[in-house]
């Protein structure tokens, strides 16, 4: 059995004195899309930050490409690219410049020409091509998400990490973003996705984990997880009975 691209075991992480993640284990096989769902405050963003080395890993292991994951710089150099929750776009720079900077990590290996990759990104997101000279701050929420995703793709990632891609997006845009993600996955990109929109996340991914209060409460192939009544009730709010309160 091949080694998963990303593997977490017994991970504990948090901020200062506060431990948010308690003993999390998950794996992202190469070429697969894995979704982590759960309510606000469950620790999803903490998990992404810990994987990328933005937060100290208090205990447990994170293995990336078979070796212990290092600093943020090392992860980026190794092809792990994160699109954070608040996008972290360069607001006062143009769409084109943002994308160009997405290409920056590839300069290490001597690559200099960003144009082919930029053409690919414009092919996926034609709206960005229309707005290539506009400042990132003037884009709408959906366009910003596209730009953030495009910038990540410019780095030709081996593992794409997405923190709440549907955040603040209208349903139609959510559809479009997830369509793009499905397309990328079918091209062989490994994706780790953290989402509040459970339906969309489980529909497009291969495997899912339910994170609750910093622990994995359930896991399984996405199709099965989506049918799990408990998941549906707790996170889609369809419970009508008030029993047990």
């Amino acid at each position: 059995m091949t080694v998963p691209l990303l593997q977490l075991a017994g991970l504990r992480a948090g901020y200062g004195h506060v431990e948010v993640l308690h003993d999390v284990a998950l794996a992202v096989p190469e070429g697969r899309m894995v979704a982590i769902v759960g309510p606000n405050g469950a620790g999803k963003t903490t998990l992404m930050s810990a994987v990328m080395g933005l937060l100290p890993r208090i205990a447990g292991t994170v293995q990336y490409r078979g070796t212990p994951a290092g600093t943020t710089e090392a992860m980026v150099a190794g092809g792990a690219i994160l699109v954070p929750e608040h996008r972290a776009l360069f607001a006062d720079m143009s769409v084109e410049d943002n994308l160009l900077l997405g290409f920056y990590p590839r300069r290490r290996t001597g690559e200099r020409d960003a144009r082919p990759s930029m053409q690919e990104v414009f092919a996926i997101f034609p709206r960005l091509a229309e707005r290539r000279r506009q400042l990132a701050a003037t884009l709408s929420g959906g366009e910003r998400q596209m730009l953030a995703l495009g910038r990540a793709l410019m780095g030709r990632p081996r593992l794409l990490l997405l923190d709440e891609p549907s955040l603040g997006l209208a349903p139609m845009l959510v559809r479009e973003i997830f369509r793009v993600l499905a397309e990328l996955r079918s091209r062989g990109l490994s994706i780790l996705l953290v989402e509040q929109n459970v339906r969309a996340a489980l529909q497009v991914s291969d495997y899912g984990y339910v994170l609750e209060m910093g622990e994995v409460a359930a896991e399984g192939p996405s199709a099965e997880l989506a049918q799990n009544p408990r998941v549906l009730e707790t996170y889609l709010g369809q419970r009508r009975s008030h029993a047990g309160q």
Partner: protein, 629 residues
């Protein structure tokens, strides 16, 4: 650049006969040492008695050189104490404190030397003059943010220094000598030793008063000035006036130092009141640790002693080629700062590891509390009419209208980015709406400040928790009771507010226990998990005794039993007649708690009604609950 340093003509006597100095009298026995008294009372009495003993004893036995040195340390400590309050605790950076020292020094010089007034008149004149100037400057600076304030303080520092040097009556840089010594009637402090005792007595008193201030209701309020002003305003604190007050206090402390300086050194010139001196005071505070009062004496001692030692040794080693002393001193400062960026005290504190907070779940029903001001059932507490608010082209709120009544829980739901927090900010006076109107408790409330709104009876929590992380849960909750207290500055500093403070803390304890925080009252709030920190905010809001409560995601990060407890609390509040408007993502929590649900998406209200009806509204399900068909 200059600093407060012993004048160059200082004599260092070879030996002081220690023999012949009487043993100091023992502190009066009794008070605090009676068997059966609490340990706390014992500690309370020992500290001032020990301080008094030290102040009486030490100046008598020290060699003369150290007397002078300690004198300078003491005076610098006074200025540094003001800076701790100003910069460390309330976050206002000042590069101009030396000007206040100079103002008072010159004031007392002019009065005692040229007008023959008694030194106490000089002190009074110094305090009045400095206080007035600081108050005027404070009018200007209280609203300034960070760098502007620093720059303005540099500006007045330079201006005053130039003034001191050019006003002919002040003799410019040749200075004024032969200033009469301190005296109180027949008692004279001409001897530096007695002077030293006076200086350190002043330090002890000022430090005690500052500690009392920080330990009081106003102290809590002052702490919100450093990065949590919005939260402070939301509990009714007048942040602008309080900033100005702290600024004046810091100036007055500097004035006391200036007065003592003139009569200790018996000579004034503009040199010790330059920008360089102001920078030195900041060095002291940052090196010692700006967050605690003890940082002032530690930093002052370190800086004064280091400067003195370098002034002494370095010219001997290097000859007179250059101003190496200040070079080496600056290098020492850099090294110290790199090793201890939060100050030496913080570094030492790290060696006393805090034990993990002991958090007990608080089982049991919330205690009964007397109902808030009786509300008319059905009374309309809040009414929004076509509220719109833009942010740089993005319509955060568009034409939103709904109302909240007494004894009702209304939930505001919608996907992230729907404009819910912006709406909260509009309602609570943080942002004015671009159009539309608000009625709060029956009165038009479109442009009221958060402070006014809090005084009227609205309390809120924040989406991104705004607490004082280094202070205990109880203190954070007690912030909410700010408007219930009346103790002013003087009462707080003289510890005359204890009865009121006990009442405030007791009220805070009650609300904290209601919210389930009873087992963690003394834990630093920043140590709690994020979910519990939100509960602290709720308890703080309850302390405001609100009629309308705005809660921004109160259940986020809570475990099921905690959510149940919170729901029970909110039902209790509803029964008391309070209106609650809450933003939430937890659908379960919302649906079984709310009387009405308002759904927002992209800034607009898309549905309103009882939970069942909203839950089955297809537009709502599509927009909010998510879906890729």
């Amino acid at each position: 650049m200059s600093r407060i340093a012993p004048p160059s003509g200082l004599v260092r006597p070879s030996a002081i006969a220690a023999a012949g100095v009487e043993a100091p009298p023992l502190p009066a026995s009794g008070a605090g040492l009676r068997p059966g008294h609490g340990a706390r009372s014992l500690r309370r009495c020992i500290a001032p008695l020990a301080a008094a003993a030290l102040i009486a004893l030490v100046p008598a036995i020290l060699p003369a050189f150290y007397v002078t040195l300690l004198g300078y340390v003491g005076m610098a400590t006074l200025v540094a104490l003001g800076l701790v309050l100003l910069t460390g605790i309330s976050g206002q950076t000042s590069f101009g404190q030396a000007s206040f020292v100079g103002l008072a020094a010159y004031a007392t010089t002019v009065l005692t030397k040229f007008v023959d007034a008694p030194p106490l008149a000089g002190l009074a004149a110094g305090l009045v003059l400095t206080g007035a100037v600081a108050w005027l400057l404070g009018l200007v600076t209280a609203r300034l943010s960070g760098h502007f304030l620093a720059l303005v303080s540099v500006a007045w520092g330079i201006s005053f220094f130039a003034l001191f040097g050019t006003i002919p009556q002040l003799h410019g840089f040749s200075g004024i000598g032969n200033i009469p010594p301190l005296r109180l009637g027949p008692l004279s402090a001409a001897s530096p030793r007695v002077n030293l005792a006076v200086i350190w007595a002043a330090v002890a008193i000022v430090m005690a008063m500052s500690a009392s201030l920080l330990d009081s209701r106003l102290g809590r309020a002052i702490r919100t000035l450093n990065g949590a002003r919005l939260m402070g305003a939301s509990v009714g604190i007048d942040t602008v006036r309080l900033s100005r007050t702290v600024f004046v206090i810091a100036a007055l402390y500097a004035a006391i130092a200036g007065f003592l300086f003139a009569h200790f050194q018996r000579f004034v010139s503009p040199t010790p009141f330059s920008l360089g001196a102001s920078i030195d005071y900041l060095f002291m505070v940052i090196i010692g640790g700006a967050g605690s009062l003890w940082g002032a004496p530690v930093g002052a001692a370190l800086v004064v002693v280091l400067r003195d030692q370098f002034n002494d040794w370095i010219p001997r080693i290097t000859g007179q080629a250059g101003d190496f002393e200040s070079l080496v001193f600056a290098l020492a400062v850099i090294v110290l700062l790199q090793r201890a960026p939060d100050g030496l005290l913080a570094l030492l504190a790290r060696f006393r590891r805090r034990s993990a907070p002991h958090i007990e779940p608080d089982a049991g029903a919330p205690p009964e509390t007397p109902p808030a001001a009786a509300a008319t059932p059905g009374e309309e507490l809040l009414s929004l009419d076509a509220i719109s608010r833009n942010f740089g082209g993005l319509a955060a709120n568009r034409d939103v209208s709904f109302s909240v009544h007494a004894a009702e829980i209304v939930a505001l739901i919608g996907p992230n980015g729907a404009g819910k927090t912006t709406l909260f900010n509009v309602i609570s006076g943080v942002l004015p709406p671009d159009s539309g109107s608000i009625r709060l408790f029956g009165a038009a409330a479109k442009r009221l400040s958060p402070r006014r709104v809090a005084a009227m009876g609205l309390a809120r929590t924040f989406q991104h928790v705004k607490l004082l992380p280094g202070r205990s849960v109880l203190e954070n909750v007690a912030l909410g009771a700010h408007l219930s207290g009346r103790a002013g500055l003087l009462r707080c500093m003289l510890r005359l507010d204890r009865a009121e403070e006990a009442r405030l803390l007791s009220a805070a304890r009650t609300q904290a226990e209601r919210a389930g925080l009873g087992g963690m009252l003394h834990v630093p709030a920043g140590d709690l998990p994020l979910g519990q920190q939100r509960v602290v905010e709720i308890a703080r809001a309850l302390c405001v005794r609100p009629r309308l409560l705005l809660l921004d995601e109160p259940a986020a990060g809570l475990r099921l039993p905690e959510k149940q407890r919170l729901a029970a609390l909110l039902r209790h509040l509803r029964a008391e007649g309070i209106g609650v408007l809450l933003v939430e993502h937890d659908m379960d929590f919302v649906m079984q708690l709310a009387d009405r649900v308002v759904v927002m998406d992209f800034g607009q209200k898309i549905a309103e009604g009882p939970p069942d009806r909203v839950q089955s509204d297809p537009a709502v399900m599509e927009a909010y609950l998510g879906g890729v068909a």
